[in-house]
């Protein structure tokens, strides 16, 4: 089966053509660099995304603190992870990279702060 997708790894946005057999990618074309092939395989076999959002702050210089997962998470778990993020509050100063939530839902991924808040 041939499937066409767009590589999202960089702004070039290459159009990829994947040859898929039994849910496995056997050939990728259209990618201008090796990252495209890796992306294509992940996209079919285990699609993942970095999730970015905000956490409400209490008594700090910002109202909302931007956060992201330090590694990509399965696309299918984004909604659940958003629910976990919604439960959080930040009340202590943070630097970019500080961990707000460790090992979210056992995914082996941490939620980290992306902006200085004091």
């Amino acid at each position: 089966m041939i499937k066409k997708i767009t590589c999202i790894e960089c702004p070039k946005g290459c159009g990829l053509e994947l040859d898929i057999e039994n849910c496995h990618v056997i050939k990728v074309s259209g990618n201008k660099c090796p990252k495209g092939e890796k992306y294509a395989i992940a996209e079919i076999e285990d699609p993942v995304r970095i999730l970015t959002s905000t956490v409400a702050a209490q008594g700090l210089s910002l109202k909302m603190v931007p956060v992201r997962t330090d590694k990509p998470i399965p696309k299918s778990r984004m909604r659940e992870v958003m629910k976990e993020i919604k439960k959080l509050k930040i009340s202590k100063p943070q630097l970019p990279g500080d961990i707000v939530l460790k090992n979210i839902l056992g995914l082996n991924v941490d939620l980290i702060v992306t902006r200085n808040v004091c």
């Binding site: 970095i50 970015t52 931007p66």
Partner: protein, 308 residues
Amino acid sequence: MIKRDLVIVGGGPAGMAAAISAHENGSKDILLLERDQYLGGILNQCIHTGFGLEYFKEVLTGPEYASRFIEKIKDIPNIEVSLKSFVVKLTTGKELTFLKPGCLTQVRAKAIIMATGCREKTREMVHIAGFRPAGIFSAGLAQKLINIEGLLPGKEVVIVGSGDIGLIMARRFRLEGASVKAVIEIKKTSRGLIRNVAQCIEDFDIPFYLSHKITKIYGKDRVEKVSVSRVDDAFNAILGSEFDIACDTVLISVGLIPENELLEMTRGASVPGLFVCGNSLKVYDVVDSVTKDSIEAGRVAAEYLKGL
């Protein structure tokens, strides 16, 4: 009137890169004016990833990209940062007037770099008929409300235009639990980067109508619905193709234009020592290009000062 060698207007990615570059090229007396209470400009509200791949060779969010420059500037005593400083006047004699809470200050510069970024095109610029109810926002304003203020501007959203900010906001609204009813683009292709169509629209199965336009916005106090039509090659609505979409919010994402109000005060005069960089020069697709352009502007300004 105070006197400075180099004044940079705007503390976003362009102004910060220009300031650092001017310093690295020998400028010792730099004043960086920023109207907001933080450096970073629009990057602070761009909490999504996609920044820095070219310049830092890693994938960063907007605030992370900004903080790399903010931290660097903190360590350079030759760059004085003046926040909450809103420039209201620019003359051909390279005099700037800026407002800071409680005072109006005039500064004469030997060189000026304008790094004022860009702004969003508005509903008025795309001519949508209908009423003027609450619930119509530019995509960037909605982004600020959600990411900076923590407010969700609506629950059922239709996005007009497929600019990158609109696409990014479609995903953001979805993640926040709102429903995005449609993205309506008058052209045959997306205005925004194709990767944003993939990760913001297709990932969330959001209906994406190309060659369509909104013909009317309805609603008395709040937006209630919009009418949408298919368009022909001349962008005219095709009779009989009209349908309605119920919604409470309309986002406008039809592109960006350089912010040049201050420059216009010089009435197109050629002023030696007055430079422009970043999105106020031309609207770039990615911030890495803004940085590259502004590093060059900082270098050229420093060279100019040396030659005086």
